[in-house]
């Protein structure tokens, strides 16, 4: 495993609300390797967006609070910092694209100026230089007629084109890390394929790392080298994409896969939904967050939180089934020492 460019350790985030304190992220750790893609997968409300927003410093405080954890970018903890080595982290070191391109751009500014703004702020370009570079960036993201398009406003762009413009903005300062928060969820499947191809081409050309947040396992399979599966604010499984898809070590990961239709014409099995819903994060359960929905839950799962068990080659799962004293054998779950 090569040296990680970003290393997040034991991150915890809380929000104060009228209903009490929500423990949105409860101790998440992961590494991002240079030039590779890490996908963070999970259901709505599992804390995947909050995790990256706290790295970017986008959590409003109050009501938010980062209670623990570090995020080391090239040896410096960036939690709570705005700059690193005199350079802005947000925009300069880490670029970000958002789920909904329609609402994430300023409707009163033309596209070219919005991209140029990044360059004047972070790189000290003159307005004219920055605008010229913005046109080049639009061309790089394969927008036809970039000179004309740069002078247009967001309402004149389609959803796919806006997402390209947002990517152009995020990569303007050539950040080593790009965070993409559900970049294709609002797009049609043919446009999604175009955007995913574009992200992969850009990654190949300038070697940036991508943190891809999604709930679509198909997108994960297409894009990611490594996968972090989150549930109820915690990591439940972490490993290479093949580990996650072919050697799942956690009942939740298996449940997600069984809940999706398989495209094998022979397999006519019924979908197996995960019954119930995620736990209330005002009062997170004392044991495993998934145990109320888990078909293999044991007494220990209710009582104590499971630790992360290493399954070899960086693959880990937070599940009591992997504890050495567990005797329950579950079909399809990779046990330590079994495969590898």
């Amino acid at each position: 495993m090569s040296k990680p460019i970003l290393s997040v350790n034991d991150l915890a985030v809380e929000f104060d609300t009228y209903g009490g304190t929500v423990q949105a992220v409860r101790g998440v750790s992961f590494d991002v390797e240079a030039g590779k893609t890490l996908a963070i997968v999970g259901e709505s409300g599992c804390g995947k967006s909050v995790t990256v927003q706290s790295i970017m410093g986008l959590i409003p405080m109050p009501p938010g609070r980062i209670t623990a954890g570090t995020a080391m970018l090239r040896g410096t903890d960036i939690i709570g910092r705005k700059t690193i080595d005199g350079e802005d982290i947000r925009g300069g070191q880490i670029g970000m694209i958002f789920q909904d391109p329609m609402t994430s751009l300023n409707p009163t500014m033309n596209i070219g100026s919005q991209i140029a703004e990044t360059l004047t702020v972070h790189r000290g370009y003159s307005k004219k230089q920055a605008f010229a570079r913005a046109v080049e960036l639009l061309e790089l993201t394969k927008i036809p007629e970039p000179d004309k398009r740069a002078k247009q406003y967001p309402f004149e762009f389609s959803g796919g084109m806006l997402q390209r413009a947002m990517i152009a903005m995020a990569i303007a300062c050539e950040p080593p890390i790009l965070i993409a928060d559900e970049p294709t969820t609002a797009l049609d499947v043919t446009i999604q394929a175009q955007i995913l191809d574009l992200l992969r081409d850009l990654q190949r050309e300038n070697g940036m790392s991508i943190i891809l947040i999604t709930h679509d396992l198909g997108v994960v399979a297409r894009m990611a080298e490594h996968v972090l599966v989150m549930y109820a604010g915690q990591m439940v499984e972490h490993g290479s994409v093949d580990d996650i898809f072919y050697r799942s070590g956690h009942p939740y990961t298996m449940g997600l896969r069984a809940a999706m239709p398989s495209n094998d014409p022979e397999a006519e099995a019924r979908l197996t939904p995960i019954e119930g819903s995620p736990p209330d994060l005002f009062h997170p359960p004392s044991g495993c967050g998934y145990c109320a929905r888990c078909p293999y839950a044991m007494q220990v799962c209710l009582d104590q939180p499971p630790m992360a068990h290493a399954l070899g080659d960086g693959h880990q799962a937070r599940c009591w089934l992997h504890h050495e004293s567990n005797t329950q054998v579950v079909e399809g779950i990779t046990m330590p020492g079994a495969g590898a």
Partner: protein, 324 residues
Amino acid sequence: MTDLVTIEHLVKYFDIGPNQRVHAVDDISLNIGEREILGLVGESGSGKSTLGKAVVGLYNKTGGRVTFKGEALPQKYTPQDFQKHAKNMQMIFQDPYSSLNPRMTVGEIIGEGLRLHSTLDTAQVRERVADWLVRVGLEADHMSRYPHEFSGGQRQRIGIARALILEPEFVVCDEPISALDVSVQAQVVNLLDELKQSMGLTLLFIAHDLSMVRYVSDRMAVMYLGSVVEIGTADQVFFQPKHPYTKILVGSNPEPDPQHERERPSTTISGEIPSPVNVPPGCRFANRCPEVMDQCRVETPELIELTDATNDTNARQVACHLFS
């Protein structure tokens, strides 16, 4: 199989200004057999939802006709027509957040249809609502709560109970699972399947998730810019797509299988779905089609039956000059 619903040359245009009209649904003919699930896929703006709404009468038809059990449905619904047909045809909507009135209790939402269309008294309505809440996996005492107290999946169950309490024969499901998480999607799909089995429902299932439509449907129709480009059994269309657009649609669909994804050739096409306002002559897919011919830009292809369909009752149809 006898047809429950037939759609003949259905047209729905929206006038948006002088000499400008959106060709949302342009001359579509489809038939839906009794107890069949017909899946309808296509990109946003292809006219799927408009078709669904025009079929149940939520939109007036610009042209063409729709028959239900051989009886022609009105071109423009009057309140009396809704009174007459709502018991037979219902709709489940996409967004479980905006399709339930936030100021009505769940009991009022689900029971409204019964109050309007049946002679049951209040106590009997309550009883039926309670039955249905249990039937869709909620609890009877949820009746007095308001929609905001429920999660997306639970609201979609409320929407299903609301649509099915009149025991209709035909239901249009307009993207019923698109707004839900993966684990909850399967819950809702299985619920619809159980209810379909027990009530003998016929469904028009509109969605853009190809894998899910293949899983749910008996037959699948693919729409592009207001017209149907391909129809066949769900497996035929998904595994052996014929129309160039269907091929690209299937090829763009990411599958949860990393090995498969690494080996698959890229099938992306450039460009986006054109505006349906002033539709060019010829094939509507011509400007994006990788196999475009001169003829395609002039002549509009009709749906033609493919002869190689082996003794299949539901003939496979494709609208493409490559096959004529």
